[in-house]
Amino acid sequence: MTKKLSGQTLAKQIQERFPNSVAASDETSVVVNAPALLDVARYLKETPELAFDYLTCVTGLDYFDYLEVAYNLTSLQHNHSLLLKARCHDTENPSVPSLVSLWRGADLQEREIYDLLGISFPGHPNLKRIVLWEGFPGNPLRKAFL
């Protein structure tokens, strides 16, 4: 079975390498601040002991006060997985760096989150609506929609 790595041990490792990047951590996940996401993700992908080479899923979440983007990372070499989250406190114009340059699988999933939740991903090569049509008013999966 794929081993789920503990968020807390990994948070310590990330905090040593990139100070002020980890916002929170618990047994299952590591939450980083949005500006530090690209560096932390590159570190997670390229460190040989971690080697997270497979991005399983990108999900967007809307809590009332903040928005989050959750990345399920898996390592095919070591057979372990991690949940990495990026938190965004700005609900007017939320933006999280795009991870398309590291994992191409993030391409369409980030477009879906942009479409349905309104989080923009600077660095994405083709950020436009994918599920709904151009000019659709609003973002349906926001709690404030409807």
């Binding site: 391409d107 436009k128 599920v131 049509w133 409807l146």
Partner: protein, 206 residues
């Protein structure tokens, strides 16, 4: 392992893509704004019968029999109802008993469009286009709650509330999903409707 960086899209491709997106959005918005009135179900045959204006000759009887005994459906399974349609076409609930085992992928060769599944607003222009590509005489069966009225998703931002907003529907088969026997019952009703439709008569009077 090095992955290649995504190439930045060149400006002409981007602007062409944007034009296509805007055209698609315009079609979808015009369909949505065409009003909440659904297209009325075709029932001219019913009025003709009631006013006793119809006399069937043996040639018309033969043509009606041949039209209803080999209705060729179009593959238009959109969502979960498609699986029940496939089950109806498989060996246990054989649809071949009714001469309908030939599911045509091309609308130009099909008589019947079984809309099996949820229709989203993004799919709506294509459903209309494929319906218009079918040759007369053609019929539409709305299979499943989503095609009949939007079903569970009737009030959703992205779902067409009933496919009769886009095309005229002959038979509604409710269910979520309707069992294959339910679909076959609906198709039997369609055959009875075709028998009384006297389309040859209508074709000459048109």
């Amino acid at each position: 392992m090095e992955i290649s960086q995504p190439k930045p899209l060149d400006p002409t491709a981007l602007s062409l893509g944007l034009q296509i997106d805007k055209a698609e959005a315009a079609t979808i918005e015009s369909l949505r704004r065409s009003g909440p009135q659904p297209i009325p179900d075709p029932d001219a045959w019913l009025k003709a019968e009631i006013s006793h204006n119809v006399m069937v000759t043996s040639l018309e009887g033969l043509i009606d029999w041949s039209r209803r005994s080999s209705v060729w459906p179009l593959t238009f399974g959109l969502a979960c109802c498609a699986f029940e349609m496939i089950a109806a076409a498989a060996s246990r609930f054989d649809i071949s008993r009714f001469g309908m085992e030939v599911f045509r992928p091309s609308p130009r060769q099909a008589d019947l469009m079984i809309v099996a599944g949820t229709v989203t607003w993004k799919m709506a222009p294509f459903l209309k286009r494929i319906y218009e590509q079918m040759a007369e005489p053609k019929w539409v069966v709305a299979m499943g709650a989503c095609a009949c009225s939007g079903g569970t998703f009737a009030s959703s931002y992205g779902v067409v509330p009933g496919v009769n907003r886009l095309v005229p529907v002959d038979v509604y088969v409710p269910g979520c999903p309707p069992r294959p026997e339910g679909l076959l019952y609906g198709l039997t009703m369609l055959h009875k409707k075709i028998a009384r439709d006297h389309s040859l008569d209508a074709a000459f009077k048109r």
